[in-house]
Amino acid sequence: MAQITLIEAVTQALAWEMKHDPSVVVLGEDVGVNGGVFRATQGLLDKFGAERVIDTPLDETTIGGITVGLAAQGMKPVAEAQFEGFIYAMLEQIICHAARMRNRTRGRLTCPAVWRAPWGGGIRAPEHHSEANEALFTNVPGLRVVLPSSPARAYGLLLASIRDPDPVIFFEPKRIYRQYKEEVPDDGEALPLDVCFVLRDGSDVTLVTWGAQVKETLEAAEALAAEGISAEVIDVATLKPLDFDTIHESVRKTGRCVIVHEAPRTAGFGSEISARLAEHAMYDLVAPVERVTGYDTHIPLFRLEMKYLPSVDKIVAAAKRTLAAS
């Protein structure tokens, strides 16, 4: 069985679903002949033709709106925003229409669409190509927000997202698009949405994260283990709706929680997890919740971007603070 990268897993999932569901179409800028600027749609044009692999005009407003129209009229569009920083022109369509189509028509019309976008910093890209804007979407009723962090989860969660009857924002952590390969059987098996994945068992502290930051968080857990500290690592994977039970169960065991994300801290999605811990796990906690996040600044241009992003050292230090507090 072939070993594939995260981006190849995205392609594999798209190809599987297009082969098995004729209503699935892919659309976006450069998704056709060019196969997407990151090659996520490589080979799909040859397999499925220009009617299902649609190069749109260079206009995010168009992509956002026709995706809603396609989805409401019986298609399952998978739209690509070339970078997460370009998705803003689609926000009105996503928020005012996709997310509320089912509700405002009492279920008469629905919007089973997926918006994919390469997401996050750390690839020395130009301005507006490195945002972590997931929290904009987690505040919108009616959406699902999914952020896979491995080839297998990218494959299984993208299949689940396309099959989901409601709109899904599917952010792909571009920093780890080609970080490593793993075996991902091309069997069409979806992974469950709305559940967190426990990537490493531990008993002293819970590290909660998502996206590319899973890499640093797992490395931090390894570094902590070398010092005799047992860290549990949770990949949230689906931010909305949030599987808080898995996080709570872990914190019941460890009594400590560090939330790691690269988006700005204030009203980042870590705030929501922290608030729920305060509401539901206050008496399980033996130390204050820690957040290791991007600063409340714009992510700097790339000479400084790695200093903006959470690092292994910052995560280890936060974990140790929770241990020192109790």
Binding site: G64, L70, G142
Partner: protein, 358 residues
């Protein structure tokens, strides 16, 4: 000097403001007087509904309402030209189109009366619901048109937008992609001269709004939107060519908003009485009535009887609307997702708890 491109925008009118034919090439449908009478009756029904809806708002029985006074010919032409399988994407005052397509007055009142069930209407199930964010519906229609084209279905998507809305990116994006992909999209700009308080002249320097479609590669035409015969003729043409794969069209229907923008607006603040008085001389019902009477196809007695009949029907619909009860509290949750996630179920229980406590 060499010329890269030239274009002209045709203006179509059959019936002038006095109800006299200005050309002699009447299309087949317009030679069938019974059909014209029927459409006139529907226009009158829309007007009676509109008047009643405003009265309901003024007496606190309806929320903010967007009237359509003066737009009746444009809307009935669109509605009667479309097939049931075609897809309509309205903005928020196209009552004539919707009634013709089977939406009930009580359903429209439900929506403006603060109840989502109004959008789950009796018209074609694939038609889009009201669209308040200006212009965004044009891209839904373009997406629908792309779906039809992809599935090789002989269906057309029709969107309507105002003169103000034609300034929006969404409208321009929709007609652009329709041109680029040869989509079966008919975009009707209902130019009623006013975008709330901002006049048509402040929207664009373009001489016509129709010509915006030229840049998108679409066929474009300007029509007297108060002339049902002209508007229907142009719609028939647009739908036919779109249905046969020849691409989209932009139609500018020139009309006038005789009412306020909505019941929350006071148009006296920004336009003259004289302008409105003049517009009443060009309005659509007056000229169609004159035309039908000139053919001996309509009488004042019939008009009086029809008005009574329409009033009775609308009153029945109003009563049906007023008799509906608000949805149960859990309805605000139940359509958020196909299947409610656990955390939302907890909030749903919370809402039910407070509802029961009263």
């Amino acid at each position: 000097m060499p010329t890269a491109a030239t274009f002209e925008i045709e203006y179509v009118q059959y019936l002038n403001a006095e109800g006299k034919l200005v050309r002699d090439d009447l299309p087949a449908f317009a030679r069938d007087v019974r059909q014209l009478v029927k459409l006139y009756q529907e226009m009158l029904m829309v007007r009676i509904f509109d008047t009643k809806a405003i009265a309901l708002q003024r007496t606190g029985k309806l929320g903010t309402y967007a009237p359509c006074l003066g737009h009746e010919a444009t809307y009935l032409a669109i509605g009667s030209a479309m097939q049931e399988d075609d897809c309509f994407a309205p903005s928020y005052r196209e009552y004539g189109v919707q009634f013709h397509r089977g939406v009930k007055p009580r359903e429209l009142l439900m929506y403006w009366g603060g109840d989502e069930r109004g959008n789950n209407f009796s018209g074609p199930a694939h038609d889009f619901a009201w669209c308040v964010p200006i212009g965004t519906q044009c891209l839904h229609a373009a997406g629908a048109a792309l779906a039809f084209k992809t599935r090789k279905e002989p269906r057309v998507a029709v969107c309507t937008i105002g003169d103000g809305g034609s300034s929006k990116a969404d409208f321009n994006s929709a007609i652009n992609v329709a041109g680029a992909m040869t989509l079966p999209l008919v975009a009707v700009i209902v130019n009623n001269q006013w975008a709330i308080s901002v006049p048509r002249s402040a929207q664009t320097g373009a001489k016509t709004l129709a010509q915006k479609g030229i840049a998108a590669g679409l066929e474009c035409v300007q029509v007297d939107g108060n002339d049902l015969i002209a508007m229907r003729t142009v719609m028939d043409h647009a739908l036919k060519r779109a249905r046969h794969g020849h691409g989209g069209m932009v139609i500018e229907a020139v009309t006038y908003r005789l009412s306020d923008h909505t019941t929350a607006d006071d148009a006296r603040r920004y336009r003259s009485e004289q302008e409105v008085k003049d517009a009443w001389m060009r309005e659509p019902l007056r000229r169609m009535k004159a035309y039908l009477m000139s053919l001996n196809a309509w009488t004042e007695d019939e008009e009086t009887a029809l008005k009574e009949q329409c009033t009775k029907y609308v009153d029945g619909e109003v009563n049906a609307y007023l008799e509906t009860r608000a949805q149960p509290i859990e309805s605000m949750f139940d359509y958020t997702y196909a299947e409610l996630p656990p955390d939302l179920l907890v909030q749903r229980d919370e809402a039910i708890f407070w509802e029961k406590r009263g």
